[in-house]
Subunit: 490 residues, 4 copies
Amino acid sequence: MKTFNAEEVAKHTSPDSCWVVLYGHVYDVTDFLSSHPGGSKVILQLAGRDATEEYDPIHPPGTLEDNLKPEAKLGKIDPQTLANPAKPAAKEEKKDEVDPPLESLLNLDEIEELATKKMSRRAWAYYYSSADDTWSKSNNNLVYRNIILRPRVFVDCTACDSSTALIGTKVGLPLFVAPAAMARLGHPDGEQGIARAASKFGALQIISNNASMTPEQIVSDAKPGQMFGWQLYVQNDRAKSEAMLVRINKMADKFKLICLTLDAPVPGKRELDEKSSFINAAPVAAATKTGDESSRPGGGGVGQQLFWGTAADLTWKATLPWLAKHTDLPIVLKGIQTHEDAYLAAQYAPQVKAIILSNHGGRALDTAPPAIHTLLEIRKYCPEVLNKIEVWVDGGIKRGTDIVKALCLGAKAVGIGRAALFGLGAGGQAGVERVFEILKAEMETCMKLLGAKDISALGPQHINARMVERDIYDGAAGLDKMGLWTKSKL
Amino acid sequence: MKTFNAEEVAKHTSPDSCWVVLYGHVYDVTDFLSSHPGGSKVILQLAGRDATEEYDPIHPPGTLEDNLKPEAKLGKIDPQTLANPAKPAAKEEKKDEVDPPLESLLNLDEIEELATKKMSRRAWAYYYSSADDTWSKSNNNLVYRNIILRPRVFVDCTACDSSTALIGTKVGLPLFVAPAAMARLGHPDGEQGIARAASKFGALQIISNNASMTPEQIVSDAKPGQMFGWQLYVQNDRAKSEAMLVRINKMADKFKLICLTLDAPVPGKRELDEKSSFINAAPVAAATKTGDESSRPGGGGVGQQLFWGTAADLTWKATLPWLAKHTDLPIVLKGIQTHEDAYLAAQYAPQVKAIILSNHGGRALDTAPPAIHTLLEIRKYCPEVLNKIEVWVDGGIKRGTDIVKALCLGAKAVGIGRAALFGLGAGGQAGVERVFEILKAEMETCMKLLGAKDISALGPQHINARMVERDIYDGAAGLDKMGLWTKSKL
Amino acid sequence: MKTFNAEEVAKHTSPDSCWVVLYGHVYDVTDFLSSHPGGSKVILQLAGRDATEEYDPIHPPGTLEDNLKPEAKLGKIDPQTLANPAKPAAKEEKKDEVDPPLESLLNLDEIEELATKKMSRRAWAYYYSSADDTWSKSNNNLVYRNIILRPRVFVDCTACDSSTALIGTKVGLPLFVAPAAMARLGHPDGEQGIARAASKFGALQIISNNASMTPEQIVSDAKPGQMFGWQLYVQNDRAKSEAMLVRINKMADKFKLICLTLDAPVPGKRELDEKSSFINAAPVAAATKTGDESSRPGGGGVGQQLFWGTAADLTWKATLPWLAKHTDLPIVLKGIQTHEDAYLAAQYAPQVKAIILSNHGGRALDTAPPAIHTLLEIRKYCPEVLNKIEVWVDGGIKRGTDIVKALCLGAKAVGIGRAALFGLGAGGQAGVERVFEILKAEMETCMKLLGAKDISALGPQHINARMVERDIYDGAAGLDKMGLWTKSKL
Amino acid sequence: MKTFNAEEVAKHTSPDSCWVVLYGHVYDVTDFLSSHPGGSKVILQLAGRDATEEYDPIHPPGTLEDNLKPEAKLGKIDPQTLANPAKPAAKEEKKDEVDPPLESLLNLDEIEELATKKMSRRAWAYYYSSADDTWSKSNNNLVYRNIILRPRVFVDCTACDSSTALIGTKVGLPLFVAPAAMARLGHPDGEQGIARAASKFGALQIISNNASMTPEQIVSDAKPGQMFGWQLYVQNDRAKSEAMLVRINKMADKFKLICLTLDAPVPGKRELDEKSSFINAAPVAAATKTGDESSRPGGGGVGQQLFWGTAADLTWKATLPWLAKHTDLPIVLKGIQTHEDAYLAAQYAPQVKAIILSNHGGRALDTAPPAIHTLLEIRKYCPEVLNKIEVWVDGGIKRGTDIVKALCLGAKAVGIGRAALFGLGAGGQAGVERVFEILKAEMETCMKLLGAKDISALGPQHINARMVERDIYDGAAGLDKMGLWTKSKL
């Protein structure tokens, strides 16, 4: 195999001839430019140099092999000829500050604070960002503050059991890790670190379609009975999705559900993420832009790149039958935001076993409702849904009391997304464990102070949600009365 | 033609003899002092020197010819005798800072921020200012934050069409440029720059009665099918208004409507604008004030100057018939703020084809209701209005989601005022294009995430406006029940 | 008359022998110590030195003569022996800053800001302070922000007349000066300066019982038809009050009403005022305190001193008949804060001609309701009151729109207290005129933009008070239903 | 008795041999490590040195004797060999600042501010801290701000009597000191200082189960008729609780009630307290941790230490009968937070004579309801409770108006916790007296301004609680209607 020096590689930086160095090898990616899910611009910014550091944390193993022809691998790079990157020095300097021990971090805000210090700006911006003016992200949490707890006294709560079962599988906690992409951006432990942490608490982990490790890697040392789910973003190229389902179906002892994400048929506008990419990006000649790319406002950002190729044409009638052909696993629909869609989902039981009320962590559409709104809508307009399928929620969880409040309203499980990633950023697997430890302790303290011995004892009598209830959708009493439109057909 | 030197001109600075230099010529404006719409004080502050820089951006071509007798033009100025103004140096210094590229500005706030840096203090104060304590201006935007979106899932929204038709004319967007005065204050491209930007998006532009360019100039290179409106402030001297209508009627291929502004029969109190004028103004001897002027609190400001001569005696019965005599163009009434007036306007269809719910960008009466309040009032008390005439809104638009929310409630079009001016200030025509680009992209992302393929698919089922609804006027249920007054007659 | 030197006077600083210098004379005030309305401590702090500067601005002429026996005046002070006070230097230094011209101050906040700079800390603290945590003071204004105006269009409002009549007397404005004590603390023009300013606008002035000038002085150059009222704090020593009524009755051509203040039977806790007195006070030996005084928490402050001697035992049955014996002037009851008391007051028509809804500018009881609440209560529970007597309001007025909103709800007049005093502090009589000028202009601009030609045209249809209405007392629907108490008897 | 030197003591710092110096003596506490209520870690941090300063303020006399065998007392310490602690110097330096006189502190916030300066960080953190995000603590106070007072006029309120009776015993004030632990942490006067201050105002004091002095000490110089209560946290080792009851029963002339605390069966998460302990703690080898301790998140804090040994298995059926066997004193149940439990408590009259609506000062469960919510719930759903037993409240009291508002809603007494402790911290017994003085003066001023002569005159007609009422639990109208759960059985 031929060996190149860096000088030679550095000449290939145009759409006509674009080389990059990855893991010590030189690749000619010219032909791949137009089909890169993140757009050609992202590659051209890295052209002619060693892109391993940027490439590695966001691509699972096998990506190069899946996407490039064998002849694209031109040879080796002579490592002596690569300039020493200046960054590591800065990083070492930062490491002089000793991190506080994880056990001294008392809540999720403190973990996020440490993660913010330790992670790269790019990773932080990708995890932290949300759509437009972050109204939905903020409100996801605020809505829990506005629900008042109602502690009962003279109840023996010496023992308190927070285990439960989700769509028939026993779990240690009603808390699950929601699918979130690119865990290795935050820490080398990546999705597998989350899996190992989850196993200690018996918690379900739903693995992102855009994970930075393969599903096989992530579940490789799972404990017996450990529960996983696989998130599916249906691709325009359905064959790709079908191939993934084949892989997941083979691990049906571990993967107990397919989570079909519906709340982001197109990417939201996450300005912090876009800004971060814009700032870092070396300017690329306008000539290299395709018409398609130039229409994207801003710099794209990690979030937008991940969406390329995702199908926006899913429908109740076409997508669920297609899915039934390719997997027997139970389906969980993620991103339900109205009682109308919850009602519809329940018609698809038993193929659909659960729905996740979610506004995508506020990352898709700003001013979309928090999950608690949708849950209250369901209670008000179609409570029977809660009997037909399981209703899970995510978004805005910061405290054990938040989890308990959702459970009191009928949710069977509550997901965390950023919290797990920030735990990872703060301390790898141990940081994720600290997140679980804090939430489990807070949740059980809350249950005891409410006078509830186990999950099944929790009910709406334990909360006062009146401040929230008066804000939920009131189609029947309000705008619907105007006679200008007919109620959307269920 | 005689040539004067600056020293001689500088002697004429009193109400008895007042000269100014404009575009290289010397004018005797003594006789015109008392009839200047902005009051004599404004001219006297500039007397005896070259006033071109101050005069130019707020007067369209032809103003001198229309208002001064030929003999008032005394001759040329010897440019050698004019002192070099000190300002340009400062300006160059400022230009050392390189502006960020427009494509790096991700939202309207960032565009406003750049415009604020680049524009003169006076222009900024005029655009930015609003009445009293800016409650209405702030609330115009805030009210949109309090409307929650209701995304539907499993809808194929691969394609999304945001074109529509306004009073029968097809437009590329439901977004129009509301009439706003003095665009050249912000950038030399002026109203024509806005027109060229609008043409790229097929958007309607309503040209201000106080534009700093003539309507003929503004539409001079319009594309075929490009839609314009002309804003009319009826003048006390009706003949002036009639003359303008004659000019507009001649361009009926481009001007598809006359927009009669009603929400500002007298100027609001825009303190920032007044303050800016007060600070810059050289002190003028009290003796030069007329009784009328001295009664104006504060320094007047650009806004107050523009209002001089505007009629405050318009009525349903007199004004609309007068207008019918002078134009066949459809009438759009701007500044409707109650359902009662919306109901009345609908009685004047088909002469009146649309109304614009507006509180003049919060610039007229502080604590006047946001357009969304009035729209909700209409839906509640007289929804039939929405069938008889088109209802448009303006004020407070910052995001594509804001536009979509107004459309969901029945608005046919949504106007932007300051956003276009700040776009102009940030980058001339290209800045305005960036504003359109951002809003169109945000609007279409929102529609897709709601599951709406086109404008007609949007309806009140897509929003939860309950937080706003409970604040709207409730005459019937509340104060009206007291029996102390009878309902205002519709 | 004997002449003393300062050294000798300085020896008399104890409760056994207490001398002070006032206006160049030496007084022995030992016997008066125990009967000083402000307590002996205040005098002892000034004992042995020239107290003129502290004494003068808070005592009207004649106070010495009324309270001291002739022999208490011991003789003259030798002015050479008095140390030059150090303060004037500091004052001059401050005067190097040129005050902005009054006409450049655009609103009441800017006037207050200037007054705050110019006035003594003690005067400012007395005017500015309010009870406890200032909730009522803040809310007095905030409640107006939460009322939305409803402008009507197509109304000819070229002319706009803001004159009106109050209990039968024509006034130029529905705006009156509420009784506020100690105007000379703020500016030497004092209450007479306010009177002269009011005369320019035809406005009613109600003179405080604790004015720093005599009523005769204040009205001495009133214009024909200028309307005054006299505020009465009934004294424990009724004879004192009766004597004052004799003096006022003699000036019945000017004084058109007696304003009986009811909302402060005991002084509120104005911490800023108390703090200011505490800080300035020289420490006084504990031995000099009487039991009574030592029970007063804090330092007392100007406000508490003024209250000494005020009767707390007024009743409907005893006080009004007593008043009828001593004056024929119409009675205005100030400080009504519930609809129940408004209802009761109306039973005492025609002796009682008006009530002023007031919480004493937030200075009496914190979290007392703003006048607008009480006005809405009256409209809801006993609207007939508005027909039987006039209802005036005060508290929190900052804008012309505030005035208009109160009028729309049925108030006949709106009072300002601090605003007049801060106007005085900012520029003496001219400052008060500027306050009137601003409010009148704002009020008329508001009326025109609402489409109201005169005061009588204003009604509740011009406002949306829903945000406030939902917070007003709802005895019948809420707590009253509990059956634990019977409705307070009207 | 043997004398040790410090060097020798310093060798015993492990779980195998742990010595400490207390009050000049050396103790071998190795055997006691595992049974220390605060966990072994706390002792190990102090091992091998003089721990008197840390030990003394949180342990009442007799603790050593009760818990250690006689042979654990090894001998005396040679004081010469103890290093001089460095801290005192820093303390003296601080004392250079002269404290403001207590009479210059005008309200509870100013007293807290001074106490915060004077107290140790650890004491402050223990007193100040509350659960999670301090929502409940903040809202405890805020809820009073949202209740509006309704002053009546023309009421003779010259005299005003604020005395009352609690469960049959006459007290000088409706204000009591709620049980709060560890008063000597804040000031050496400790709980006895509070008792002496309370006696001056005839106020009830409920002594904490975790007091830093013995009950005998605290009441040792009580005045005749002075009323005390004893707080009971039932211990897992019931014999300990029974022994305490024997002691209390003997002082039945002073102790008029047993206050059984129910709102904290397990400790809340007080992060400030935990953080403070974590920061101060010397690192302890992980090997010394027991499994039980290592599961506690964070450092524990004073609050968590105090809870060890407290029973979490109390029930209506078992606990009250057990209590009846061991005392004849009336029972007051503290920590009722729902109307359901208030209703249940009333069934246990006359053994139960009163309940205290409390969320433990926001220290147990964050987002638990303020007492005022529960009081309003009782008025709404089971007002008869107010006739059967007395209802007291605590939490959030900052002003005399707060007290009056609670009384107007039917509370018979109002407790302060932190306020008394901060008074103690600010000035020992005199500081607590200042707290009583301020609140009593504020309360009586409020009563007079409302027109209430005594406590019995206060009623719901004096307040407008509508802003709070709309937020209280509305089971019947809201979530309860959903049919998904049956109302919790009373």
